[in-house]
């Protein structure tokens, strides 16, 4: 057995990392195609405010992050509808509020080490409870994604046409928003709040460089996300690197490689309008 698998904490980290990488890629694909790439940033930053609330209130910071993330996600949806042509401002407004709140509240947190662990993640220090939480979340997100695949596809493609065709856009968007918020808040504990937003976007951007359909975009995004996560954990174990940052940097390498492959195939991201 390789050395990395002889440690229970690394076994747990690999399993949790793999599960998160798959669901983050699924959610990221929808997010990118809904033109909400930066929503991950807004939610992950807002989750830090929830972490601070949890640490100050004496309850599990993940629960605090979940609560704040859900409120933030619905706020983005609500503001987006009000702003019409400037809907992208909704993300910036919520992100600014989240950062401001996290900044102020973190000043009252006694143990800065606890707070910092959510900034860059601590996947190797994950508890059994947290691992079970991720497992349950992964099952729920995957089942929802498969069942609502065509609805999410249609809404991402053309929300108005989807409504006209009878897609319950409000319900599907609400389910997607809750799943994203919960995933981001839990992922904040593992890969870190500042890194989860990258993982939501970079594997999808890489996949779009070479995929020949929406379905293969999802599959390539899952592949890039999973290989980056496992590769990042293995490299960080043997080379003594920070796992979160290593995972994101590997996914960026994939992006560059796939862009090059896409260029070789006579295709580029610009032809897709990205």
């Amino acid at each position: 057995m390789p050395a990395i698998l002889q440690y229970a904490y690394m076994q747990r980290a690999l399993l949790v990392g793999l599960l998160l990488s798959v669901i983050v890629a699924c959610l990221g694909t929808v997010m990118v195609h809904k033109r909400l790439s930066l929503i991950g940033d807004a939610l992950s930053h807002s989750s830090l405010a929830g972490v601070a609330i949890g640490l100050l209130g004496g309850f599990n910071p993940i629960l605090g992050a979940m609560g704040v993330c859900i409120v933030a996600a619905f706020s983005i949806e609500a503001i987006r509808k009000k702003l019409g042509n400037h809907s992208e401002l909704a993300v910036a407004i919520v992100m600014s509020t989240g950062i401001g709140l996290a900044g102020v509240l973190s000043g009252f947190v006694r143990s800065s080490a606890d707070f910092n662990s959510f900034l860059f993640g601590s996947i190797v220090a994950i508890s059994g409870f947290e691992a079970r939480l991720v497992l349950i979340l992964a099952v729920i997100v995957l089942v929802a994604f498969v069942i609502l695949y065509k609805e999410l596809f249609y809404i991402s493609f053309d929300e108005q046409a989807a409504s006209i065709s009878g897609v319950p856009v409000g319900v599907v968007n609400a389910i997607f928003t809750i799943l994203t918020a919960v995933t981001v808040s839990i992922a904040a504990r593992t890969v870190g709040a500042l890194i989860i937003s990258s993982l939501l976007v970079v594997p999808v951007a890489a996949a779009m460089s070479i995929a020949r359909s929406y379905k293969t975009t999802v599959l390539w995004a899952i592949f890039v996300s999973a290989v980056s996560t496992i590769g990042g954990l293995v490299l960080s174990f043997y080379l003594g690197l920070k796992p979160g940052g290593t995972i994101v940097l590997i996914s960026v390498v994939f992006f560059l490689l796939f862009r090059f492959l896409g260029f070789l195939r006579g295709r580029s991201m610009s032809s897709k309008g990205v």
Binding site: E151, F157, D158, S163, G166, A211, T217, S271
Partner: protein, 275 residues
């Protein structure tokens, strides 16, 4: 004739200033109606009202006898302006795009079956894009993208087709192909069509009704060109070009010329038709 679209005393404004005031018109089953008017007179606003995106401030809109009260409109197909350009930035195949138009047939949280796939292929075939079904829509020309978008709408078997400036941004040849397909749908499939357009010269010959929005109101214009060519087109359901010649001197009659007297020899017998 059954009234498919009924707009009754409709007024609407985004602010206190009304864009549309007491607009009235009907579209009957089998009509190919075009809505024309200057920029900003409320043509696209009218479309949004018909689709239920916006609610009229006053008045009623009924489609197939039912009050427009929500966005859910099974039986109505909608092709927006530059629909293809929106698709261009989406990494999906033509087949995937068209499958999304089958939503009302598949249903919520259900998976498409073989019959749905066959329907998507049939729709792509109808617009002449079946051989490109596995291609990314972003790799097609503007005209081809618009045809795929039309296939998506057609896959839902709409009774009424509402199109908002579908010819904008595509080349002349693609416009002709698109109009030919719409004509075929209107004549053979009995699909009622309402099209907002600026391109009356191109679209006019295929239409039997011309509705002009102006200063917030709607009036019907009966362009001779529209009447004549459409009437002849009905006798040629496959839409072949129709040439009309004088029975006496074979002088070719101009499109839109509704006199029964030949411009060349003054002969008063009815013109004969040839394909």
């Amino acid at each position: 004739m059954t009234k498919v679209i009924e707009v009754e005393d409709v007024s609407f404004g985004y602010t206190r200033d009304m864009i549309l005031e007491h607009v009235n018109f009907d579209v009957e089953q089998g009509d190919f109606a075009v809505v024309i008017g200057d920029n900003g007179v409320g043509k696209s606003t009218m479309v949004k009202l018909l689709l239920g995106v916006n609610r009229p401030t006053e008045g009623h809109i009924r489609i197939c006898g039912k009050e427009v009260s929500s966005l859910r409109k099974n039986g109505i197909g909608y092709l927006p302006q530059n629909g293809g350009s929106r698709a261009a930035s989406f990494p999906a195949t033509c087949e995937e795009i068209v499958m999304s138009g089958l939503y009302s047939k598949i249903g919520f949280a259900r998976f498409p079956g073989k019959s749905h796939k066959a329907k998507a292929e049939e729709s792509l075939k109808m617009v002449g894009m079946l051989d490109r079904k596995k291609d990314l829509i972003g790799e097609l020309s503007g005209g081809q993208q618009q045809r795929v978008m039309l296939a998506r709408v057609l896959s839902g078997d709409p009774e009424v087709l509402i199109l908002d400036e579908p010819t904008v941004g595509i080349d002349a040849e693609s416009v002709d192909r698109l109009l030919h397909i719409l004509h075929h749908l209107n004549i053979d499939k009995k699909v009622t069509i309402l099209m907002v357009t600026h391109d009356i010269e191109k679209v006019g010959p295929y239409a039997n009704r011309v509705l002009c929005l102006s200063e917030g109101a709607c009036r019907e214009e009966m362009l001779p060109q529209a009447k004549i060519v459409h009437a002849h087109a009905h006798s040629h359901p496959h839409g072949e070009a129709t040439h009309i010649h004088c029975a006496n001197c074979e002088h070719e009659k101009e499109h839109g010329h509704d006199s029964e007297h030949c411009a060349e020899c003054g002969h008063c017998e009815k013109y004969k038709e040839e394909k």
